[in-house]
Amino acid sequence: MMLNISDIMQTVSMIDHQHLDIRTITLGISLYDCADPDIHTCARKIREKICRKAERLVAVGEEIEREYGIPIINKRISVTPVSQAAASCESDDYAVIGHALDEAAKSCGVNFIGGFSALVHKGFTESDRKLIASIPETLAGTELVCSSVNVATTKAGINMDAVRMMGQVIKSTAGLTADNGGLGCAKLVVFANAVEDNPFMAGAFHGAGEPECVVNVGVSGPGVVWRALQDVKGASFDVVAETVKRTAFRITRMGQVVANAASERLGVPFGIVDLSLAPTPAKGDSVARILEAMGLEACGTHGTTAALALLNDAVKKGGVMASGHVGGLSGAFIPVSEDEGMIEAVKSGSLSIEKLEAMTCVCSVGLDMIAVPGDTSAETISAIIADEAAIGVINNKTTAVRIIPAPGKNVGDSVEFGGLLGSAPVMRVNEAGCGEFVARGGRIPAPIHSLRN
């Protein structure tokens, strides 16, 4: 046999026992040709185009799952930021478009659609303002629509007017979805340095530089990395890094094979593989537990940031050679509610928002799926966003905030979202005021190292 029996059994065991899976196949679809002055016509064009382009997405995904024996957890769609696609509509109510996206997603059978988005890092168009104003109602009135707003880039600096606005939008969204623990906020991401080809939700959108239609794949596999580290207990970090790299190579190779198959069968070009370690609330599928496997008693203790830095870097180094095109967010995710180990670390008091903020300096994305007390002010949320945006802008990386001011909940309570969104223990925020800081508005200028030309 060309392959040896232990390699084969290792792969089978990764899938059967270590939660190895493809986290998402995301079909990016351009909506630029759906523009129309009448918003209902625009919504119809958008619905029809998505249904036409993504008609076979779920069936093809399931066919690949069966043939390759690899679970593909999510099939998703990302679209052109709606603030751009709907800019010519003579209407203020972009929720109409939100509903069209929701209907299209349901009709295609996907589990999320991303792109109810605006890119306002340098300023707002009229359309951006309309979109942002429509976010709370859209997220409350739809099931599958995800929204994101990019408020900062390394090149443009931080749009503090947008930061202030997003604090209020998050509070209104939580209010309108109070019956579900503020669930709407779990579908809303505020970015710095957002990427155009991210296949992961809630932050996926189909960027301006993307082709008509594209397939992007997000891999996963924290359980596999954790298992591999069990074999190198006590070994030096050189060995740990090498072990993570080798594992990441295998995980990514699988992602690339699936991406090629999906691209070929859908007749859509392959975009990127996103080399992310994306956890789920299931036991044995946690990024926090990988950090602990490096010798930490609980995630969040001193040493966590260094452990995460090593993990994030080794995942990229291992993955980059395994894929033709790497993109998206590519790194370890640290969402609290979606990671069993993170939830435990928060509950035990080992992990705080401040430590998570430090961790976001060295990994992919940012403060993700964090529940805070329901009475947290819009200004405090804006200031949290500003801090994260500053980390992204200065370090030339993507950062994001997906935060849920859980209505009626306090520190010590938990919010249940169910499914992959998991359960979020409510975390303490610093209660000292930051209202005057947020009220200033304007732009925080781009850092000196943005001038690279």
Binding site: M1, M2, L3, I5, D7, I8, M9, T11, V12, D16, R66, E67, Y68, G69, I70, F249, R250, R253, M254, Q256, V257, M321
Partner: protein, 89 residues
Amino acid sequence: MKAIMTVTAPDRVGIIAGVCSLLADMGVNILDLSQTVMEGIFTMTLLVDTGTSSHTFDEIRTALITRGEKESLVIHIQRADIFEAMHRV
């Protein structure tokens, strides 16, 4: 289509015979086969060609899984490319 099949179960008489006769009945050609017993667990991997069969891949897969469940065997069948990609640079 070339596929890798794995069969694991507590060791007993007749596992290979049972699995191979089912493959033969469905017209699936076995290209390579290796088998070992690790700590009392029978483990077999086969490289098969499903192209010789008049059945679809899904039908073959379903028949194998159904037989596996009946006889307490854990059977997987997956396209071979995935293993090559994961274990070869």
